[in-house]
Structure formats: structure tokens, C-alpha cells
């Protein structure tokens, strides 16, 4: 809910992998979005928010990217998603919403340009505060007492997480062989914004660029499934 760009990439990637026909509508009027939560899937009369539920819905409609996975691989998927949420997401939130230079020069203007006035004045600030709140509540606390210490810890965790993902991916094209699955969608959803968005403060991006197999993974998906050239400065949405 807090981090739309990653979730949008994730969902679009999953939709492409499973062949689900998905039209992306930019919602200009967030007042009408149910509970202000994006992204939202609207199918006939059903409205679903939150990515996990949306993925379940797509699966029940038989758009399943995980059809060929074994039970163990399905379990691995769940475990790696937990790893991403615990170790990578805080740093991602920080890079987009809390790091002052990034937030002011990239995130806020981009976000505000896509939603209507006067919501554009209020919503980015709210999302930034929620992100900070989330990080401090889940990662702050003794023995980390200042925001700087918390920041140092979450970036350490994120870099370790990227290293682990790189080791797990190895030389394969996707995480479970030759066809992409839910896990690939999740990883892509988290990595693509880090990889592609041009921020002034880029420590996470620099670390990611030292892991060539992860960069190759993102580029492959972008070119094969999104038909984008690698030089695009903003991620697709």
C-alpha cells in the first residue's frame, strides 16, 4: 500500500508472465480510489487492493505463472518474498520517500504530477510520513537510537539481501529456470525502481550495479515483456 511504483511494476510483470490481459489505468482522482489504496484491480464488479490479494485473484481466474513449480519451489517463493519485504523494502522506502534529496527532487514531483490537485499537496507528504513511521517502528528501537543508525542498518540489510538474491539467481535466466514466475515478478517489482529511477543519492543503485546477473535479469524482463529500451529513465507505469 505504501509503495506504489514497485507494486505496479510487480503486478504488471506478473500479468505479463501469466498472460493475463491487464489494462493499466492511471487513476487521476484518488478520492475515489477505495480507501486511497493503490494499485487497485477492477474486474467486472469486484474491486481488490493489495498485491497479494490481487495475485490470488489472478490465480483463481486461471492466470497462473506458477503452474509448473514444484511444491518446494512454491514454498521457496513465499520465503524469498518474506526476505524481500523484511530486508529490501525498508531501504527502498527510504530511498524513495525519506532520503531528502531523492524525495524532493524526484519522488514528490513525479507522484504529484500524476494525481489531482489538491491531493498532490497532501498525499506525497502522507506517504513519506507513513514510510518513516514504518521503518522506525519495525527497524528502530534499541540498540539503534538515531535515525542515522537505523538508516545505516537498513542499507546494510538491503545490500546483503541483494547479494543473497544474486547468489540465488546465479547464471539462470529466471529464479526457477527458463520461465518467469511470481517470485520473478516480486523481485523485478523491487529491483526495477532501484535500477532505473535516476536519483541524486544512489547508494543502493550503485550496489545493484555491482551485481551483473541482477541487472541482466531486470534488463531481460524490461526488453522482453515491456518492450522498453534500456535507456528509459523512469520505470514503466
Amino acid at each position: 500500500q505504501v509503495f506504489s511504483p514497485a507494486l505496479q511494476s510487480l503486478l504488471q510483470a506478473y500479468a505479463k508472465f501469466s498472460g493475463a490481459p491487464l489494462t493499466v489505468n492511471t487513476i487521476n482522482n484518488l478520492w475515489r480510489a477505495p480507501k486511497g489504496d493503490l494499485p487497485v484491480l477492477v474486474s467486472q464488479d469486484i474491486v481488490i487492493s493489495q498485491p497479494a490479494k490481487i495475485l490470488n485473484f489472478l490465480r483463481r481466474q486461471k492466470y497462473n505463472a506458477d503452474y509448473d513449480l514444484s511444491a518446494k519451489q512454491g514454498a521457496d517463493t513465499l520465503a524469498y518474498i518474506a526476505l524481500l519485504e523484511e530486508k529490501l523494502l525498508p531501504a527502498l522506502l527510504h530511498t524513495f520517500w525519506i532520503e531528502a534529496e531523492n524525495y524532493c527532487s524526484v519522488t514528490k514531483p513525479w507522484f504529484a504530477s500524476r494525481i489531482a490537485f489538491p491531493l498532490s499537496l497532501y498525499l506525497p507528504g502522507k506517504m513519506s510520513r507513513e514510510a518513516l513511521n514504518r521503518i522506525l517502528l519495525t527497524k528502530g528501537g534499541p540498540p539503534l537510537y538515531t535515525l542515522t543508525e537505523v538508516e545505516a542498518q537498513i542499507y546494510r540489510d538491503a545490500k546483503e539481501c541483494l547479494n543473497l538474491l544474486s547468489k540465488r539467481l546465479g547464471t539462470s535466466q529466471f529464479f526457477f529456470g527458463d520461465t518467469p514466475t511470481t517470485l520473478d515478478a516480486f523481485v523485478f517489482g523491487f529491483l526495477a525502481p532501484i535500477y532505473k529511477v535516476c536519483f541524486p543519492r544512489v547508494q543502493l543503485q550503485e550496489h545493484l550495479k555491482q551485481l551483473p546477473n541482477l541487472c541482466r535479469f531486470c534488463d531481460d524482463i524490461l526488453t522482453c515483456y515491456f518492450r522498453l529500451t534500456v535507456s528509459d529513465g523512469r520505470q514503466p507505469s
Binding site: 512454491g74 513465499l78 524469498y80 526476505l83 523484511e86 507513513e130 519495525t138 543473497l164
Partner: protein, 246 residues
């Protein structure tokens, strides 16, 4: 390897009256891990264990002149002293192990916290009486309310506040299903030798199976998976029988 002192101690809250499900699970996980490493440790119960801990969380261990809390840092600490359970794993397996440990923390631990602090019936009948039990009124109530407020704030931040109990139990089921699939017919998660992941899973599952709550719904979710209950029994027999059973 550095010598492990004789008087190494693990601190947790009072076992019979005070400790809650989630803390008991975390403590048992650390005890199992240390048993697996063959490092003897005494369990000391103190009402103010939470406040003594350097991170505010239990359990914590006091070894020599150092105090370390929570399984993650304790594993690192023990490794620095020359003992490790996961040295034999390759890089990909280590990544997998870390991922599964996050899964347990993300789903099982959070579900336990939810049940203890956000489910009104459990809170009234179990948590409030237990949490502040060593202290006189009104301190016992104040401490309970304060802790509940803290936990609820965190639940809200990670999006669990809006969940119903059924949804939480479903998440537990999903997690157990994943663990059961991953374990398969092996004795431990990485076949022949236990690792910190086995200790963590044992800590949580055994505690869920043996703690009496308002209903049996939580333990039933675990009981659905026979290889998980067999796993718990195996570790209990191998590492805890003959010692002070926790």
C-alpha cells in the same frame, strides 16, 4: 574456538506465570540453537528480563562479560566464538536458510503477536493477567496497556491491524504449508544436520503446539502437517530430553 564459559546464562520472563507465547517461542529457539551447538546454558527467569535486554527483546544471553539478545545476533556472536551450524551450507543454501528464517519471523512471529495483543478475547483472558502478573496493581495494567499500544502501532504500520483472526490463521496455515513442503521427508531442513533455521522453526512450532490458548485453532493449523509435528518431537527428544524440559 574460544572457550565457552561455564556460567553462561539465558534470561527470559517467568515461565509459569508471566511469559507470553511469542517470547517463549523466541527463547526456546535460542535454547535449541545453543543445544545444537553443544554449548551449555542455564535458563534464568526474571520478571524484568525485557528491561534488562539490550534491545528490549527476550531472550538475551549473558556470556562472559557480554550480553547479546535475539536469535540473529546470538548466532553471529556464537559464530565469532568459533561455533556454527551453517558452515557446511553453500551460498545458495545459506540464502535459502535466511529467506526461510525471515518467513518464520514475518508470518509466525507476527501472527503470535497479533493473537496475543490484538485479539480481544485472548488479550483479556490470557495476556493481561500474565504480562503484568509479577507487579502490583495498577502497575500491571499500565505495563500491559503500554505494551499493547506499542504492538498495535507496529501492526498498523505493517498492515496487519486490519486483518481478522481468520486471515491471520490462514497466514499461519500458509506458512506451515511452506515449511512442511520445504522439510519434506528429511529429518532437518538441510538434510542431516540441524541449522539455526531448524532451531527457529522448532521454537515457534513447539511452543504453538504446547501452549494452551483460548481455542485450539492455532495449534490445529500446525497439527495438520504431520511432518512438522514429527520434526518437533524429534528435536525435543534429541536435544531436550534428560535436560530441564522447557
Amino acid at each position: 574456538a574460544e572457550p565457552w564459559p561455564e556460567n553462561a546464562a539465558l534470561y527470559q520472563q517467568l515461565k509459569e506465570e508471566q511469559i507470553l507465547l511469542s517470547d517463549n517461542a523466541s527463547s526456546l529457539a535460542v535454547q535449541a540453537f545453543l543445544q545444537m551447538c553443544n554449548l551449555p546454558i542455564r535458563v534464568i527467569c526474571r520478571a524484568n528480563a525485557e528491561y534488562m535486554s539490550p534491545s528490549g527483546k527476550v531472550p538475551f544471553i549473558h556470556v562472559g562479560n557480554q550480553v547479546v539478545s535475539e536469535l540473529g545476533p546470538i548466532v553471529q556472536f556464537v559464530k565469532a566464538k568459533g561455533h556454527s551450524l551453517s558452515d557446511g551450507l553453500d551460498e545458495v543454501q545459506k540464502a535459502e536458510m535466511k529467506a526461510y528464517m525471515e518467513l518464520v519471523n514475518n508470518m509466525l512471529l507476527t501472527a503470535e503477536l497479533y493473537l496475543q495483543w490484538c485479539d480481544d478475547v485472548t488479550v483479556e483472558e490470557i495476556t493481561y493477567p500474565r504480562y503484568g502478573s509479577p507487579y502490583p496493581w495498577p502497575l500491571n495494567r499500565i505495563l500491559s496497556y503500554q505494551k499493547q499500544w506499542e504492538v498495535r502501532r507496529k501492526m498498523k504500520a505493517i498492515g496487519w491491524a486490519g486483518k481478522t483472526l481468520e486471515q491471520v490463521l490462514e497466514d499461519v496455515d500458509q506458512c506451515c504449508h511452506a515449511l512442511s513442503q520445504r522439510l519434506g521427508t528429511q529429518p532437518y531442513f538441510f538434510n542431516k544436520q540441524p541449522t539455526e533455521l531448524d532451531a527457529l522453526v522448532f521454537g515457534h512450532l513447539f511452543t504453538i503446539l504446547t501452549t494452551q490458548l483460548i481455542t485450539d485453532e492455532l495449534s490445529e493449523k500446525v497439527k495438520n502437517y504431520s511432518n512438522l509435528t514429527a520434526f518437533c518431537r524429534r528435536i525435543e527428544q534429541q536435544y531436550f530430553e534428560g535436560h530441564e524440559k522447557d
